[in-house]
């Protein structure tokens, strides 16, 4: 058993060779590396599955005997200061590493097909493997500096992957926004780490907690300073987990490829903030104010995310806001002190949301064939609808994910969300009311997404009515190079994507109805539909390949059964005592639970059933409202604006319309927060830059230039003076002699 722990330092580094090799290969031997294309996917999946087996083994060990293993190497040796590099295996680490590796493998598998036509296929796999490396490094790190290092590295992976399709201007803006917003959080994190180091003189978690406890116990610290440090540390988590003031990057991050949204921006990286707070939980617990702040930020995010998700048109964006809201639940749970519930929700949400994102990726993949390669169209839910007929498997998977996220009983998220809601009643009724209301909202918007996507008629033919003339860059081509050709010769568009497999390009666009196994590939070149609006043949989306469906099915299994790790099964042991044996509680030391001071009677079935009924009924209510509003009226045009369906209802409809309009505007303008940031911060920085540039140029640089110019003129003047004419000199001589005489005379007179 020991030896497993001994080798656990290898966890983050197993997948590192893949990005290194691909990167070196792409730089040095691009042609040869690109030829090997699919071959590269294999080692990355293989290595990641080794890590998965390893971490599952570790977590089984952890379940059997919960003990913390730490191993440290010294990294830099300075006289009074040494940085260390180590790894720490404890329940939190093992849970997260299992989570990361399982979702990671499924997403890798999925993206093999999803990205197969992309020019950046290899780059994608390199980034993904690098991401898993740094994320695993983050969860196994044993001190704060290491956390910071990997924290930044996952941020950079996220930056690179959001900007993966760098020819899109929107993507390039989004990735910069994500990085800078995260950097604001990192700024806080670094300052917090430095502050803690200043207080305790240590980075190691366990030493840190010990010293800190002693200091607090002996009342030797300045509470203001400590609170400041804790708030700064927490701000790192705020940025990474997209909590309220710094959440703006997450919806924009959906510009990245969909597998990335599933892995990084739903399941793992955004959970890093939760992980950080959970890791520093013993620290935050002894500073009571900070716990309230965490809970407050959590509840604000829960509510904000849910309201913003209400009227999004883009399927991925609404999922992103839902992610934000769910992360808010976890933060809320941490702030309330129910550590276990937060981690439970982290796990269940990760699987359900990964499922939903992969499902939406499958939908987008099918829609792209019809609508063209533009996120405005292929991700637009207004243009979807009635997909049940065309992509049944995806539909089932998506429905299960939706039900889970809404909190419908047998599914995963129900168990965790129910726990959080229960705990919130114990914490504060106001928070609990908001949380419950938001649970209803969650059900509402998730079913809105589901109904708009899968119910009713297929609306893609109405894209010309959607009001937006799409003349943006996307419609040209993804990688741009061939775009100019296309503008000249419309029919050359089959060469748009430089596919590896040349034969695919030989299909002609009229063959869309040819039904065989290759439909997916064949329809791919439809990227510039609007050139053909007049003679287009209506086509319907098709189900994705098995490679994409398989990971979704696995995730469905997870969504169905992962809740079991947190469900308390009552069993009687030999002495006849009630024993609480759910796996999660076994993993997580009960000492961290603040709210349940006495774990023996935490399982009260009656209470549990009433609470569960309550939360489930809220969810059902939300679903009911959603289906009431979005059940297709079989007039597809009315589906476009959701408040149109109210046109003929009731006398109070003006007020109702107003309310809905307000909500609609609030949501579609992203709560006006982005606009506010754009005006205040971005504009402010631009103005400042211009101002300082002006100052630099005119004043600081102007001074020496002015001196130079002045000296030039003085020199010219003197040159003129000394021009070499004798008469001029004589004149000067006489002039000065005269002045001298005058002065002499007047002074002489004055003295006498």
């Amino acid at each position: 058993m020991e030896h497993i722990y001994q080798y656990s330092w290898i966890i983050p580094f197993v997948t590192l060779p893949v990005p290194m090799l691909i990167g070196a290969g792409l730089l040095l031997f691009p042609a040869a590396t690109k030829k090997l294309r699919r071959m590269w996917a294999f080692p990355s999946v293989f290595l990641l599955s080794i890590v998965m087996i390893f971490s599952i083994d570790l977590s089984i060990q952890q379940i059997n005997s919960s003990f913390i293993y730490q191993y440290i190497w010294s990294w830099t040796i300075n006289n009074d200061f040494s940085l260390e590099f180590g790894h720490l295996i404890d329940p939190l680490t093992s849970i997260l590493s299992v989570l990361i590796t399982t979702v990671g493998i499924l997403v890798l598998f999925y993206s093999d097909n999803y990205m197969s036509h992309d020019q950046g296929y290899l780059r994608f796999f390199a980034y993904m493997s690098f991401f898993t490396t740094s994320m695993l490094g983050l969860v196994t790190s044993s001190n704060l500096i290491q956390i910071y290092i990997f924290w930044e590295l996952v941020g950079v992976c996220s930056y690179l992957l959001i900007g993966f399709w760098f020819t899109r201007p929107i993507a390039s803006n989004a990735c910069q926004k994500a990085f800078v917003t995260n950097r604001v959080g990192d700024f806080g994190l670094l300052l917090g780490i430095l502050g803690l180091y200043w207080i305790t003189g240590s980075f190691e978690f366990r030493d840190l907690f010990k010293i800190f406890n002693n200091l607090i116990y002996n009342n030797q610290v300045n509470f203001l300073f400590v609170t400041l440090c804790a708030v700064l540390l927490f701000s790192g988590a705020i940025a990474k987990s997209a909590q309220f003031p710094l959440h703006v990057w997450l919806p924009d991050a959906m510009e990245g490829p969909t597998p990335i949204s599933a892995l990084i921006h739903a399941a793992t990286m955004v959970a890093a903030g939760i992980f950080l707070v959970a890791r520093l939980f013993p620290l935050f617990v002894i500073i009571p104010f900070i716990m309230n702040l965490i809970a407050l930020i959590g509840i604000i995010t829960v509510f904000l995310g849910a309201t913003l998700a209400l009227a999004q048109k883009d399927i991925k964006r609404s999922l992103a806001y839902s992610t934000m809201s769910q992360l808010g639940y976890m933060m809320l749970a941490l702030g309330m002190g129910s550590y276990r519930a937060a981690l439970f929700h982290l796990i269940t949400h990760a699987y359900s949301k990964a499922l939903l994102f992969l499902g939406s990726g499958s939908i987008i993949h099918s829609m792209e064939a019809i609508l063209g390669y533009s996120p405005d169209k292929s991700q637009n839910m207004v243009l979807m609808g009635g997909l049940t007929k065309h992509i049944p498997i995806t539909k089932t998977a998506f429905l299960l994910g939706t039900l889970s996220l809404c909190g419908i009983p047998p599914f995963a998220c129900f168990w965790s969300k129910d726990e959080i809601l229960n705990d919130s009643w114990l914490y504060s009724p106001i928070f609990a009311i908001i949380a419950c209301f938001t649970a209803g909202l969650t059900a509402f918007y998730m079913f809105r997404v589901y109904l708009l996507t899968f119910d009713g008629h297929f609306n893609a033919h109405f894209q010309s009515y959607s009001g937006k003339k799409n003349s943006s860059f996307y419609s040209i081509s993804l990688w741009g190079k061939e775009g100019s050709k296309m503008l000249n010769k419309n029919l050359r568009l089959l060469a748009l994507l430089t596919m590896n497999n040349k034969e695919r390009a030989s299909f002609f666009w009229k063959n869309t109805y040819q039904i065989d196994g290759n439909v997916r590939n064949m329809t791919w070149p439809f990227i510039t539909i609007q050139n053909f609006n007049t003679k287009r043949i209506f086509s319907y989306p098709h189900e994705s390949d098995n490679t994409m469906l398989f990971p979704m099915l696995i995730l469905v299994l997870f969504t169905l059964f992962i809740g079991a790790i947190g469900i308390p099964f009552n069993q009687f042991n030999q002495e006849g005592m009630l024993l609480d044996i759910d796996i999660l509680s076994k993993l997580l030391t009960p000492s961290l639970n603040l709210l349940h001071q006495n774990p023996e009677n935490s399982v009260d079935w009656y209470e549990f059933v009433t609470n569960a009924t309550f939360s489930a009924s809220i969810a059902f209510f939300g679903i009911f409202i959603a289906s009431f509003l979005y059940k297709p009226v079989y007039s597809s045009l009315q589906n476009l604006n959701f408040f149109n369906s109210f046109a003929k209802k009731g006398p109070k409809r003006i007020l109702w319309d107003k309310i809905i309009n307000v909500i609609y505007n609030w949501s579609s303008n992203r709560g006006y927060i982005d606009a506010f940031y754009a005006i205040s911060f971005i504009g402010g920085i631009r103005k400042l830059a211009e101002l300082i540039h002006f100052f630099d140029k005119q004043i600081i640089d102007g001074t020496p230039n002015g001196v130079g110019v002045t000296s030039f003129f003085v020199g010219e003047g003197i040159k003129n003076v000394g021009s070499g004419r004798i008469s001029f000199y004589l004149l000067f001589y006489l002039f000065y002699a005269l002045i001298f005489l005058l002065i002499y005379y007047s002074v002489y007179k004055f003295i006498i």
């Binding site: 990167g23 792409l26 730089l27 040095l28 691009p30 990294w75 830099t76 040796i77 300075n78 006289n79 009074d80 200061f81 500096i145 910071y148 290092i149 990997f150 930044e152 590295l153 950079v156 930056y159 690179l160 900007g163 760098f166 020819t167 899109r168 201007p169 390039s172 803006n173 910069q176 990085f179 800078v180 950097r183 604001v184 990192d186 700024f187 670094l190 300052l191 430095l194 502050g195 180091y197 200043w198 860059f473 040209i476 990688w479 741009g480 190079k481 100019s484 920085i685 631009r686 400042l688 830059a689 211009e690 300082i692 540039h693 002006f694 630099d696 600081i700 640089d701 020496p704 130079g708």
Partner: protein, 500 residues
């Protein structure tokens, strides 16, 4: 130890080898280029060999000393010697100069003179970093100005004469103060001028006089380093110079200021340094913020990178003035790390310019598809410059932060303020670097030029950027590479401040 004059050879070899260039028959530029590269590499290998065999890392004293009387009546010696602190910059000089000559291969106009000047600079820089004598230091300081002036005024861009004049006026103006300070120190308290570093280091002066000397040296080094408000020659110079010259300027020349600040101001004038350092820290913090917020307003790509250099120099100043073990170590690490990163960024900007012939960022765009390799290396180095962990810049800045935190000189409130403002610079840096990347590479923009096809970087350019990238990543993973050189020496320098 051995008496073989290694350092003299290192100083004399490039310039004497360079003067042989003029004797070459006129047979094309190729011979000259290969010859220059050969000399650079030979020198670098020789240095590496000599240092690895004859230099003890754990000895904080001056090593490989040489002492020859040069001018009899003046008491002027040819004194050379290196310690752990100057070892890093010397090796950096060798490395960057070799790569710069490799980067300068496209230059065809008057290549004899060009390569001679490069080699002359090489000598001047190594002489500066290894001199143990104030007057020799000054002579070397001046020696390397002239090649830069000529390189700038002959091979520069459109406004090259303006920038070259500005450069020479600024730096020569600074040198006056350097000479004044040097003579002042040498002549104080004795009839015979004494320029030796060691004797001057053990001398103590009246405080007012020390402050006076300190200001003189500070002005000289502040021009070179640069410290605001004396920085404006830098963007102009970097904006106009050819990129191989830029590599030398950003990689080595700027470091001379920081080196002098430690070598002379810190070692010789400790009292004045501890009086001045709080103010210098404030200047350094302002510099970080000021340059980082000027940078987004620049349209010119090279000027933007130049302002980023100015901003990074702020960390060096703070590290030097924190008067703590870690701070000084961090400053040295930053000297090395910025030497690599700055040089590489200028190199890449220059190669990009060679292809698209545009300097303004808002005219560029969408270059990533046509030049993926330049895009990759440029992104990696920009990330390194914004202190991404795993690269050397991160470590340098982190250790400077620790230096401020652990330094015993400052009060809690001021420490908090300083770190806070420094960390704001950490937010501003990605803003201008990433938006630079975005404007250059991201997006999709057809050039107006009919032939919008560019060659990606060839093997030579790739070699240069990768060979800079490797040490950057290496130091980022294992910073002891640099720390092991300087730790003991830093302790020795700082002992002056605590045991007096």
């Amino acid at each position: 130890m051995n008496s073989f004059p290694w350092l003299t050879i290192f100083v004399v070899l490039p310039i004497s080898g360079g003067s042989l260039i003029f004797l070459f028959p006129h047979r094309g530029n190729k011979v000259i280029k290969w010859y220059t590269i050969f000399i650079c590499i030979f020198e670098l290998l020789l240095m590496t060999y000599a240092f690895s065999y004859y230099f003890q890392l754990d000895d904080p004293l001056i090593q490989l000393t040489e002492d020859y009387k040069w001018i009899q009546f003046f008491d002027f010696y040819w004194r050379l010697g290196i310690d752990g602190f100057s070892l890093g910059p010397i090796l950096l000089t060798g490395f960057i100069t070799t790569l710069a000559t490799l980067a300068a291969r496209p230059i065809t106009r008057d290549s004899r003179l060009f390569h001679f000047l490069m080699l002359a600079m090489y000598s001047g820089q190594i002489g500066l970093f290894s001199s143990q004598d104030l007057l020799l230091f000054f002579i070397m300081w001046e020696l390397e100005l002239i090649p830069v002036y000529l390189l700038l005024s002959m091979w520069g861009g459109k406004k090259r004469l303006y920038s070259a004049t500005k450069f020479i006026l600024y730096t020569a103006g600074g040198s006056v103060f350097l000479l004044m300070g040097a003579l002042g120190i040498a002549l104080y308290g004795s009839n015979e001028p004494r320029f030796h570093f060691e004797t001057s280091a053990n001398q103590s002066y009246p405080v007012a006089l020390e402050i006076f000397f300190y200001i003189g040296f500070l002005i000289a080094f502040a021009v070179k380093s640069p410290i605001i408000p004396l920085h404006t020659w830098l963007p102009d110079t970097h904006g106009e110079a050819h990129y191989s010259t830029c590599m030398l300027l950003a990689g080595i020349l700027l470091k001379m200021g920081a080196y002098g600040l430690v070598r002379i101001n810190m070692e010789l004038l400790p009292h004045a340094h501890s009086i001045f350092s709080p103010w210098l820290i404030i200047v350094g913090v302002m510099q970080i913020i000021y340059a980082a917020s000027t940078s987004p307003g620049q349209r010119n790509l090279k000027k933007r990178i130049a302002y980023s250099s100015v901003s990074h120099m702020g960390f060096i100043i703070i590290g030097i003035c924190s008067i703590s073990d870690m701070g000084l170590n961090g400053a040295i690490l930053q000297i090395i790390s910025h030497g690599f990163i700055g040089a590489a960024l200028f190199f890449l900007a220059g190669t990009g310019y060679d292809r698209i012939r545009r300097v303004y960022l808002d005219e560029m765009g969408g270059m990533a598809t046509s030049m993926p390799k330049i895009f990759t290396t440029f992104s990696i180095l920009s990330l390194a410059s914004l202190a991404l962990p795993g690269m050397s810049g991160f470590f340098a800045e982190l250790i400077v932060f620790f230096g401020i935190i652990t330094g015993q000189k400052y009060l809690l409130m001021s420490k908090i303020l300083i770190t806070f403002v420094m960390a704001v610079g950490m937010i501003l840096t990605p803003i201008y670097l990433l938006s630079m990347l975005r404007q250059m590479f991201y997006g999709y923009k057809l050039f107006n030029a009919p032939n919008s096809y560019f060659f990606d970087s060839g093997p030579r350019e790739l070699f240069v950027s990768i060979s800079i990238l490797l040490p950057v990543i290496g130091i980022g993973f294992y910073p002891d590479f640099v720390f092991s050189l300087s730790v003991d020496r830093v302790e020795a320098i700082l002992s002056n401040y605590f045991y007096r």
